[in-house]
Symmetry: C2
Amino acid sequence: MTARRSFAPSTGVRAEATKDIPQATIDRLPVYLRVLASLVERGVATVPSAHLAQLAGVGSAMLRKDLSHLGSYGTRGVGYDCDFLLGQLSGVLGVSGRCPVIIVGIGNLGHALAGYAGLRARGVELVGLLDSSPAVIGQEVAGHLVRDIADLTAVVEEQDVAIAVLALPAEHAQAVAERLVACGVRSILNFAPVVLRVPDGVTVRRLDLASELQILAFHGQRREATECADLDDLDHLDDLLEVTS
Amino acid sequence: MTARRSFAPSTGVRAEATKDIPQATIDRLPVYLRVLASLVERGVATVPSAHLAQLAGVGSAMLRKDLSHLGSYGTRGVGYDCDFLLGQLSGVLGVSGRCPVIIVGIGNLGHALAGYAGLRARGVELVGLLDSSPAVIGQEVAGHLVRDIADLTAVVEEQDVAIAVLALPAEHAQAVAERLVACGVRSILNFAPVVLRVPDGVTVRRLDLASELQILAFHGQRREATECADLDDLDHLDDLLEVTS
DNA sequence: CCGTGTGAATTAATTCACAGCG
DNA sequence: CGCTGTGAATTAATTCACACGG
């Protein structure tokens, strides 16, 4: 057992709320964070909720409600201090300190994920790549040496890994997930198209290309159906006729 | 303008409901679909909601409520016919007919996505790869020739493309999205970390690695916080003590 | 004034609990 | 008798609308 992750971040954001923040809000914070980062980079000092909301693609009321769950960080009549809010959001999300991530499974997808340069800028640090295939072990990918999955425990403890990304075939995902949990990893991002069974207290998020496409297929289909219905609905003509009046 | 997507799928599932199905339900259908496929493959004929729910990682009440939005497809005292339900779900999602997809941006990620073999089995068909870089155009990737993005309109019309996957750098995503919309594509899966601005009637889903990791970071952090609180809460000892009693 | 923060109202999603069918 | 389908109850999320501070 090595030192657990550095306990309290430097910023003044701490236990405060962190609890009872709605999940739906949490899901949107990364978007706000990214938009803020781009504003700061462009030298914008302060931004009103309406503008920030527009950039994030949400309504301004919702944005204000979301932020109100973290505290009162705005100035009435002005808006939010970009720099300050950026720091607050980072703190709440837990990416203001060290946030070490490993990728397990260095196939096509693992390769691509490892090569995604934007991670560091967004507060998470890639600290290890693991695979079981001798064909990959020992290779260097994105500046990291691919290690044997047999070394999993060692890597997790050395680096105090917080999150593991699973980018491996569906049939191995459950077994690897169990090993991760046994090593103490409690957050898993699963790219394999299976539902992982994990004990309480472990958080899993699943990202599945095919599922997303199927959901989009539904919307596409529904749209065609309602378009058909619209042909019966001649109100559209009013818009055209008003031009002549 | 070429023939629009084949109008009505062969199955008896059609306009029926399709409307007023809650979004949260739609988001879960792909999971049910995959679990059912695996049951059918294993020769299971019929499955009760409790079992199906367990495999899908949801509560049985929710599963039944979800299915009830599509119709009454179960048999009381028995459960659901796997084969039949599979067909119904495919129909509702719109993957029982042709569902042609293109990938725009054949970098590391696009490569990996193109190579994902599971798509066909899940009802969507990869029909084209596009990129703007001469270094990639003309190469064969996953059995498809990479075409010039200048041919976008041609490809979309030839193949009657329903969905486009964006796997390109953030700075190009908005421009390409606009071109897609102009070509008539109304469903976009966006892997770039930007919020796309699209007209009403176009559906965009965003998949962002960094955002997902940040959300997991939040949960990891919150867990540590509550664990600390638990140190004050000595009830755990009861469990240990009971062994001796 | 302008824009935040927030109660109150609305709408969506989940869970409960049980009537009723095979 | 077991399991579906569903109203009713609960809980979560979103939107409204406006009081209040800078």
